[in-house]
């Protein structure tokens, strides 16, 4: 079975890439693209609101207010929601770059959140050192959860799309078990864990808001990943494998199995970190619905950013705003919040269609010369 490359990118070696530092046109192009996508998202939303017979004006006002209406809305609603989307989006884009269709960020995120909850139990002994421990636990658990799918892919040829989706369901039900079993709060009334120790909670980075350290982590990891993919030999190998595994193996003598497995595990680790950061930065306790599908939205984030880590950060903020706004829309205008996932899915499809249209016109131009 052939699995097509998702990216269809042209590979630039680090040596070629290094000379050309970030060109202004690239940045302008990226911003323009973001602007167009944001506009398309709003247009789609307006169309959907209108055909479903909502009070479009009220809904849009609620959306804008909820997303960017105040300093508090920007920092504590939009940016806080952008954190798990950015981290999970980076996880997805890293895997997709290597040609691995990891649809399992959701499950890896849940595994990370559960592991972080366990690690937070050590807070009385470790004090503030519990924070690095629980973040590391999240990474390890996410990588391990992805590792199951990586193993099945490598050793038994199981399509990772199906295995990661199955693992998402297993993770969801396992968290459901944990919060009714070993991790349940001591009164045994609610299906959720105890609140984690204050010493295990991520510090806030802007006083008076809810924006936590996870945001800074996401930005740092995004920039690091961007630099690594662009300038380092490892990043080059990963992109080469993703673009054409057979060519990478024969022409580049790249160990494809090793590269894809490492990328898969790293992707899981970042998604696990997203879960740990969400737990210790936002919810402070574990429950089944700790992720309203961040791992799935992350796929839209990664694709809209064309798998570019810097783009992922931008797309995550955009989707964070969209989801924060949708939440306000449901609260203030009675519009079902799930409408946003329709917008997200349509955006993915439009981006796919636009990319296909572009490659086709490029090919036609090449054919005619």
């Amino acid at each position: 079975m052939t699995l097509p490359s998702v990216t269809g990118e042209t590979i630039v070696t680090p040596a070629q890439g290094r000379g050309a530092s970030i060109r202004v046109s690239t940045i302008v192009g990226g911003l323009l693209r973001a602007l167009v996508l944001a506009l398309v998202a709003v247009v789609l939303l307006v169309v959907l609101l209108t055909i479903t017979g909502q009070r479009t004006g009220d809904a849009l006002i609620a959306l804008v207010n909820g997303a960017v209406g105040s300093w508090y809305a920007i920092t504590s609603a939009t940016l806080v929601r952008a954190v798990p989307l950015a981290l999970a989006g980076l996880a997805v884009s890293l895997a997709f770059r290597a040609g691995i269709l990891n649809i399992g960020a959701e499950g890896q995120l849940l595994a990370g959140a559960a592991a972080a909850t366990f690690a937070s139990l050590a807070a009385p002994q470790l004090g503030v050192f519990v924070i690095p421990l629980l973040l590391a636990a999240g990474c390890v658990a996410g990588a391990a959860w992805a590792g199951i799918a990586a193993f099945l892919r490598q050793k038994l040829g199981v399509l990772e799309v199906i295995s990661t989706i199955m693992l998402n369901y297993v993770a969801f039900h396992t968290v459901g078990y944990l919060v009714r079993g070993p991790l349940q709060e001591s009164t045994h009334v609610f299906p959720q864990s105890f609140n984690i120790d204050p010493r295990a909670q991520l510090p806030l980075i802007i006083p008076g808001t809810r924006l936590h350290l996870g945001f800074a982590l996401a930005v740092v990891i995004g920039i690091a990943l961007w630099w690594w993919l662009r300038d380092r030999a490892g990043g080059f190998r990963l992109r080469a494998v993703g673009a054409n595994a057979r060519a990478a193996a024969s022409a580049g003598r790249i160990d494809v199995a090793r590269t894809t497995t490492v990328a898969f595990l790293a992707s899981g680790a970042i998604a696990g970190l997203a879960g740990a950061a969400q737990l210790s930065g936002v919810t402070y306790s574990l429950y089944e619905t700790i992720s309203p599908g961040y791992g799935y939205t992350a796929i839209a984030v990664a694709l809209l950013a064309r798998l570019n880590p810097l783009g992922v950060l931008g797309a995550a903020v955009m989707f964070g705003a969209l989801e924060a706004g949708a939440n306000a829309m449901q609260r203030d205008a009675g519009v079902p919040e799930v409408l946003v996932s329709v917008v997200e899915a349509l955006l993915i499809l439009l981006v796919l269609a636009a990319d296909r249209w572009r490659t086709r016109s490029v090919r036609m131009a090449e054919a005619s010369t």
């Binding site: 699995l3 295995s163 199955m166 039900h173 796929i299 329709v342």
Partner: protein, 304 residues
């Protein structure tokens, strides 16, 4: 005891077999439709609406039609535009889960309102239903299960014995050769995707009209993805797919049995995870090897 177990197994296996049979045809034509889950949930909502107004029979038709609608959407992107099949399918599933959730809340009010839909009862086939052991299991079922029997036989015959079936298999194995022989590859693939959508829509309708008697958001619960695994386990053959579905029917039966027995102290969540773990095990044990259609997932007609 054993006949009750077999009866429940076939009842639970029916939606899996319906969806997997459709996916089987789609994959034999070279298209892997990850959007199957989307067609199932659309079928479930379509059936709820249709049955609420006109009764169960119209409900099934509305379910199939809703599944077709979502599959057509998938086909436009994945077949006509040749976008990546897997990403497109994932997006289509996201779209369908979001759209059904939105529509459900708009039509039936806020989530949590309990809603009951007319369901089809069981129909005992005269004479056959009194066969010992298997009579009850095979012939005292809701009508949709009998439709399934005919569909399995029909698809098996059509794929292996007709000119059109041969053309479809050629498209999935060697699209360039099929195209050279005058087969319209995209039309065949689009047709196969639409058929898969109809079957998945029927599967969704079955969940509502022959099992739950109500619609719940996300009630498809990954059945579309499990159906894709069933196709692998069934070696891309209709009869194999039907047999593989029985395994999942049995798993759901046991899961419900254990849940109702309430095994001391074991939370029900662990049982809920069983079908998904089973899918992983099944995929690990079944090597796709040479039985997988050669051009499965391939974007371009003319390769290399």
């Amino acid at each position: 005891m054993i006949d009750a177990f077999l009866e429940a197994t076939i009842r639970w296996a029916t939606p899996f077999a319906l969806a997997a049979l459709g996916e089987c045809v789609s994959e034999r034509a070279g298209v892997i439709n990850i959007g199957l889950e989307g067609s199932i949930i659309a079928g479930a909502l379509g059936a709820t609406i249709g049955a609420g107004v006109f009764g169960p029979t119209v409900g099934f038709a509305a379910g199939a039609l809703s599944g077709v609608l979502i599959a057509t959407f998938f086909g436009v992107f994945a077949v006509a535009l040749r976008s990546d099949q897997i990403i497109t399918g994932t997006a289509i599933t996201m779209f369908s889960l979001g759209a059904t959730g939105t529509l459900y809340r708009l039509i039936y009010g806020a989530a949590g309102v309990s809603l009951s839909t007319p369901t089809t009862g069981v129909f005992a086939v005269p004479v056959l239903s009194s066969i010992p052991v298997i009579g009850l299991a095979l012939f005292v079922q809701p009508p949709i299960t009998y439709v399934l029997y005919f569909a399995i036989a029909g698809v098996a015959w059509w794929l292996s014995r007709t000119q059109a079936g041969l053309a479809l298999r050629a498209v999935g194995e060697r699209p360039e050769a099929a195209a050279a022989a005058g087969v319209n590859v995209r039309r065949v693939q689009f047709g196969a995707v639409v058929f898969a959508g109809a079957m998945a829509g029927l599967a969704g309708a079955t969940l509502v009209l022959a099992q739950a008697g109500t619609f719940v958001e996300n009630m498809s619960a990954g059945r579309g993805f499990i159906a894709i695994a069933i196709v692998v386990l069934g070696r891309w053959r209709p009869l194999g797919v039907a047999a593989a579905s029985l395994l999942f029917g049995a798993a759901y039966t046991l899961q419900n049995l254990f849940q109702s027995l309430g095994l001391a102290g074991v939370p029900y969540n662990l049982f809920l995870a069983v079908p998904y773990v089973l899918t992983l095990i099944v995929l690990s044990l079944s090597r796709s090897g040479t039985s997988s259609p050669a051009a499965l997932g391939q974007k371009e007609i003319v390769s290399r």
